[in-house]
């Protein structure tokens, strides 16, 4: 089932204009991330859940001299000019190609949506098949007083002659990495 979820998740992400990769471990992921981030001229914003792999990834990116700004540490840069954010979603829904974040502040929300590019990193174990599978999680999170955000592909509009254009407000480009060993 888990393999099926990964396959379906990738298929659905690609169908909605996102780019998806499976990485066998953090080291492989870092190579991809480095390629995608080394040209970035602004601090890279990090947002999202404190997953079991998050600190390892951040410290390895820092080792490569990348300027990383974790949102929880406060804001030390212009969020709306940031080129890229990296997010650690709580959950993913394979059948829709959705990643789910929780956030309790405007900074976190802005970091998710303001940059032109967004990278989501999610483990295989956090992937679920369908919407119903995350219902309880959403109910509990809302009860605890945190907001929930589903992201299903890049920001898009079809307001001009029905032509789909990406990035009108939120990220134009979305990469999603699935960590296979978690």
């Amino acid at each position: 089932m888990a393999t099926d979820n990964v396959r379906l998740f990738i298929e659905r992400l690609e169908s909605i204009g996102a780019v998806a990769y499976v990485c066998k471990d953090v080291d492989e992921l870092i190579k991809y991330l480095y390629d995608l981030t080394r040209e970035v001229k602004t601090p890279i914003l990090v947002v999202g859940s404190k997953t079991e792999y998050r600190e390892e990834i951040i410290s390895k990116l820092k080792e490569r001299q990348l300027e990383i700004q974790s949102i929880e540490q406060g804001l030390k840069c212009d969020i709306y000019t940031s080129e890229l954010s990296i997010g650690f979603p709580e959950k993913g829904i394979a059948s829709t190609g959705t990643v789910i974040y929780r956030a309790s502040s405007g900074i976190e929300e802005a970091a998710l949506y303001a940059p032109e590019k967004h990278i989501s990193i999610i483990s295989r174990s956090r992937l679920h098949y369908e919407l119903d599978d995350v219902e309880e999680f959403v109910e509990n999170t809302l009860e605890e007083g945190e907001s929930i955000f589903f992201i299903t592909g890049p920001s898009s509009t079809a307001d001009i002659e029905g032509e789909i254009v990406r990035g009108v407000h939120g990220p134009r480009i979305i990469y999603t990495f699935i960590l296979d060993n978690y």
């Binding site: 659905r12 909605i16 804001l75 709306y80 829904i93 059948s95 829709t96 190609g97 959705t98 956030a103 309790s104 502040s105 405007g106 900074i107 929300e109 802005a110 998710l112 949506y113 303001a114 919407l131 119903d132 219902e135 959403v138 109910e139 809302l142 009860e143 007083g145 945190e146 907001s147 929930i148 955000f149 589903f150 992201i151 299903t152 592909g153 890049p154 920001s155 898009s156 509009t157 079809a158 307001d159 001009i160 002659e161 029905g162 032509e163 254009v165 990406r166 990035g167 009108v168 407000h169 939120g170």
Partner: protein, 701 residues
């Protein structure tokens, strides 16, 4: 009778026809969306649709309890709930908030409810700058238009018009390229978000159990508006409250698939009142969330048995996507502020019945009802709206004339030769146009020398069963040969066929809002047929509209056991052949020997499961049948016969688009089982057009 200023719908339609000629931006955009939807709609089960309907029914039934529940939850979470009786009160609340918090700039995310209450105008009159952040809304705001579609506010504009508007606004050339336009606007929005003191959003749903505001968008403008601003004001109708998060999940599965053909929209957010705001000048404060829920006629509508169904709308715009007249003229003509089929009852609820004149543009094809995931009977709501308008301000004179259509027809049918001479003479047609209102350019069918009642003889030995034939005015008085053909086929199949006393179906009465009169006809026909149903007869209708009335509208109008019983025992003619087995039927009919037929499915033959009994019938006889879901032919009974832009001209334009698509297919002829549709197709197509009864021949052996 009160007086109402009247819109000149005919002129409005003619103007749009001249502007949109051969371009039809609404249709193009909606067809694109419908193509995307086709790939995902099958993923929604009928059970789920039923559940969504039930959720909405219960939410509206307990509307006032849900408001109180939400109030308690929001108070406990530090948010405010205010109920505004009407738009003015809501607008005043927002202005007071702006003054209280010294807000000079408001960023707004798309919200139909704020359009309803004309909030922008109100805020601007108080010196508050309002920036719409949805791209389409921003375009129409800068253009000085109003939205023409609930999901694509600028669907009526071309890229060139959009570029022109933005060039004027930015004071530098903006190319007519959607990608470049988007990048320009993106830059501008960033600056606005950071400066704005307040974000105003609507809500797709508000959850009573936890206070969450659920927003569904593709652009993400709602999220950036809220993320950067310290005050979030939610303006929504009270009907948006759902009891639980579970309810929202059910509807989410249906909403985006139906709205845009996405499994989920790009962004779905559940905003909770306890979030903290984006820091301004270094300080972090709780985000202020103020919920302004608007009544504006909704609570009264929730108590109105005939109207409350409109409140089940989930704003997916499926009805707009399939509506033939809307797709031609768009929401500026087919609408007031709410547009399209759902716009008719919603205008009545929120802006009063006096603003519902555009309901006359609905051709009553019923495609909106079929497309609606919540199964809202939009045609009937339209009928109710027309009735209330008619009783208050008077019915349009042509509709009053058409109300007496059966008397006209029976009178003329008594003197068929004279009637036909009159109908085919120029002077006759001009007089009919002048005194009744039927356009003189519309070809009208000729009266038969003898009506069906005069030539019909009870036939068949009844070894397989008994059938009562139900027709409609056209077959009865103009094409009795089709009634006879139906009877002959059934008798050859072993059925005893009788023609009970009957009136025409009464559809024009339902269509134009003469509900009381329609009910009388329904009662007459049901009582006549029930006597036979009691004796074991099945009712078989030759006309799709007649069958639709028997099975759907009569039980709805009468709400009696006997009407339901008649409905349960009623069949469309070809549906009945399928029911008894096409293998039996093919034995008594001649083969169609690879005849290439383009089949037109009449709107009233459409089944919920998508099956097409007539197509199957033709295929069983060896025909190669091609078909395409092109929607309504545009005639829609007497609707397309009416003089004027909003009748004949609009009807012809709808028909032209349909026929063009058929002529591009492989069929050598067009066939249909509706005598009404046939009139329209035959008048517009270069291909031969036939009634199915004219194609099939009974074997001599």
């Amino acid at each position: 009778m009160e007086k109402n200023r009247s819109r000149n719908l005919s002129e409005e339609v003619l103007e749009k026809l001249s502007i949109f000629k051969d371009y039809w931006p609404m249709l193009k955009n909606n067809l694109r969306i419908r193509e995307r939807k086709e790939k995902v709609l099958h993923e929604i089960s009928h059970d789920l649709l039923g559940e969504v309907r039930r959720i909405k029914e219960e939410a509206i039934e307990r509307l006032e309890d849900n408001i109180e529940r939400l109030r308690r939850v929001l108070e406990s979470r530090g948010a405010e709930l205010r109920i505004a009786r009407d738009g003015l009160e809501a607008s005043r609340m927002v202005v007071d908030l702006c003054k209280q918090y010294n807000v000079k700039l408001v960023v707004k995310s798309k919200s139909l409810t704020t359009e309803e209450i004309k909030l922008n105008k109100f805020l601007e009159s108080e010196g508050i700058e309002v920036v719409e952040t949805d791209l389409g809304e921003r375009i129409v705001q800068l253009a000085g238009h109003r939205p023409s579609h609930i999901l694509g506010p600028a669907f009526h504009m071309t890229r060139y018009e959009v570029a022109q508007v933005l060039t004027r606004y930015y004071g530098r050339p903006i190319p007519p390229d959607p990608q470049e336009i988007v990048m320009e606007v993106r830059r501008e929005f960033r600056e606005k978000y950071l400066r704005a003191g307040m974000a105003i959003t609507g809500a797709n749903f508000i959850v009573a159990e936890n206070g969450a505001v659920v927003l569904v968008t593709n652009e993400g403008n709602d999220r950036l508006s809220i993320a950067f601003t310290p005050i979030h004001v939610i303006i929504a109708g009270v009907e948006k409250i759902l009891p639980t998060t579970k309810d929202v999940f059910k509807i989410l599965k249906v909403l985006s698939r139906n709205a845009t053909g996405q499994r989920l929209s790009s962004y779905t957010s559940f905003h909770i009142p306890t979030s903290i705001s984006y820091p301004r000048e270094g300080s972090v404060k709780p985000r202020k969330m103020i919920y302004i829920l608007i009544d504006n006629g909704r609570i009264e509508a929730a108590r109105d048995r005939d109207v409350k169904e409109a409140l089940y709308c989930i704003r997916c715009a499926s009805c707009l996507q399939v509506c033939p007249p809307y797709n031609i003229v768009g929401g500026h003509v087919f609408g007031y502020i709410y547009s399209g089929p759902m716009g008719i009852p919603w205008t009545m609820i929120t802006h009063g019945v006096k603003n519902t004149e555009f309901a006359q543009l609905c051709n009553f094809c019923g495609l909106c009802k079929e497309a609606c995931p919540v199964n809202i009977d939009l045609p009937y709501l339209n009928s109710i709206t027309k009735e209330r308008y008619g009783k208050k301000f008077g019915y349009p004179s042509i509709n009053k004339n058409l109300k007496r259509y059966e008397s006209f027809i029976t009178l003329a049918a008594n003197i068929p030769s004279l009637s036909n001479y009159f109908l085919s003479s120029k002077i006759g047609r001009k007089l009919i146009e002048m005194f009744i209102g039927l356009d003189s350019r519309r070809t009208l069918p000729k009266f038969s020398k003898n009506n069906l009642g005069e030539v019909f003889k009870e036939v068949g030995d009844g070894r397989e069963g008994k059938v009562a034939l139900f027709t409609d005015a056209l077959v009865y008085y103009m094409y009795p040969e089709w009634g006879l053909k139906a009877s002959e086929i059934l008798s050859r199949l072993g059925f005893r066929v009788v023609l009970p006393k009957q009136k025409s179906s009464g559809m024009p009465l339902i269509q134009y809002g003469f509900i009381d009169e329609a009910r009388k006809i329904a009662r007459y026909n049901v009582e006549s047929l029930y006597d036979l149903v009691e004796k074991g007869y099945k009712v078989v209708s030759v006309e799709p509209t007649a069958h639709y009335c028997l099975t759907y509208y009569y039980p709805k109008l009468l709400d009696t056991e006997i009407s339901k019983n008649v409905a349960e025992n009623s069949f469309g003619f070809f549906e009945f052949l399928k029911y008894i087995g096409l293998s039996k039927v093919t034995k008594i009919l001649k083969s169609l020997d690879d005849m290439k037929i383009t089949y037109h499915l009449p709107c009233h033959s459409r089944s919920r499961d998508g099956s097409m009994a007539t197509k199957e019938f033709l295929e069983s006889l060896g025909a190669k049948v091609f078909t395409k879901d092109v929607g309504c032919c545009g005639l829609a009974g007497t609707w397309g016969m009416k003089k004027g832009g909003h009748g004949y001209e609009l009807s012809i334009e709808i028909g032209r688009i349909v026929v063009k698509q058929y002529e591009e297919m492989e069929g050598e002829l067009i066939a249909t089982e509706s005598s009404i549709c046939l009139q329209q197709l035959a008048s517009l197509s270069k291909l031969p057009c036939n009634h199915v009864f004219d194609i099939v021949e009974i074997s001599s052996d």
